[in-house]
Symmetry: C2
Subunit: 237 residues, 2 copies
């Protein structure tokens, strides 16, 4: 009844996870993509995730979990403001208000459950520790500890069978390198949604941390981001 | 706006978590109790959790997450049957079909998010590795690895502030010892729901693994379980 697969790809619908999905597929993995409706500020990234999964022809599961119950982040609490216009140095300094407490831990836990049920020995996640927002749960030491825990958490862990590996193919790449790799693999970045604060029509603001890091990635390749922006500003971080 | 607390107590509504809640309160902790509506077979345990939290006067948060999306367990898939009439030796052998993939990992991840938002340095969970069903995510080595990961996952982990501790006060106790400790603390076990497969009126079956381990706990103290059973059998494991 349950379809076997090789890996669970966490797919937010942003630039990074779209690239990871393309990388897993290029490696001939049988993929199930997993997204979350977690009370984020907007639905555009989820729509992008669905479009990406459909275009790639992979099974896509969306879990409903409401992190607004807890609050504490500008991404799940409309009363908190998303920062705009910060430079890459400012972005790198400290953990911003857009950090969602334990979000990757929660996402990976659902991925772990799905991997166990489907017999997958891998999870792919597009965390990045170079051009990133300083989130604690994007760092290599965190992923390493998660993998260690995951291998004790499940049936396989007890029975000593096949180990689970958490793949983070972007973790040591710059945004420019990620964009280059994605374009080589044919990723349509016009389909992705990265912005923390898009307009109702989905146009990116071009000024939040996520937009500025993304624009930096295209600028490093001398390219124009194909995504829709609501301003002509498009200043890289 | 967000109420500070000392610990997040995972409260399923069963005998173990009711005891853990009483222990945390006896230690004068400011508690927020956390339960899940996860697609379990029945709502009786959630009703019990609410009654226990209300009786103790503690804040209670119920998260809605649908683990039926993944399947793979008799507790979340009505097509799979809950085993009945097994002995304690049979229960201890292997991981039963009632194991829910990555359930404690998912529950702890939400507890971690809540702890971070509320400034709690502790999580309490009623796992038990003596009279238990062989679930991988109840073992001390798993909890140890989870704690290590959790301390890298959050804002505090990065900023090197106060560490998070996962308390498992029942992990090395027999069911008999758990019941004794709970009764000393005044836990009303008549309010708890342990059975995997109760009748529509909430009466326990007395024959599933959870009932038999529970009945063993009362039998070891020469006591009768005050919970409602649908049979007079009440055979301890």
């Amino acid at each position: 009844m349950l379809k076997a697969c090789d890996t669970v790809v966490l797919l937010s619908g942003g630039l990074d996870s779209a690239t990871v999905l393309a990388m897993a597929l290029a490696d001939k993995k049988r993929v199930v993509a997993l997204s979350f409706h977690y009370g984020q500020r907007h639905e555009h990234e989820l729509a992008a995730a669905t479009a990406l999964a459909d275009a790639a022809g992979v099974e896509h599961i969306v879990c409903d979990i409401d992190l607004r119950t807890f609050g504490g982040s500008a991404l799940t609490d409309a009363d908190l403001e998303v920062p705009h216009g910060r430079t890459v140095d400012e972005i790198a300094r400290g953990i911003p208000i857009t950090y969602v407490p334990a979000r990757n831990t929660i996402f990976l836990s659902f991925a772990l459950a799905l991997a166990e049920v489907r017999g997958a020995a891998e999870i792919h996640i597009g965390v990045n520790a170079i051009d990133y927002s300083g989130y604690p749960d994007c760092r290599p030491e965190y992923i390493e500890a998660y993998q260690q825990m995951a291998n004790l958490a499940t049936r396989k862990g007890v029975e000593g069978r096949q180990r689970l590996t958490i793949h983070t193919p972007l973790i040591a790449l710059t945004k420019g390198e990620i964009v280059r790799r994605g374009l080589e693999l044919g990723v349509d970045y016009g389909q992705t949604c990265t912005c923390y604060d898009p307009s109702p029509d989905g146009a990116a603001c071009g000024e939040c941390d996520a937009c500025r890091l993304r624009l930096k990635g295209f600028a490093e390749n001398g390219l124009r981001d194909p995504a829709l922006y609501r301003t002509e500003a498009r200043t890289p971080a």
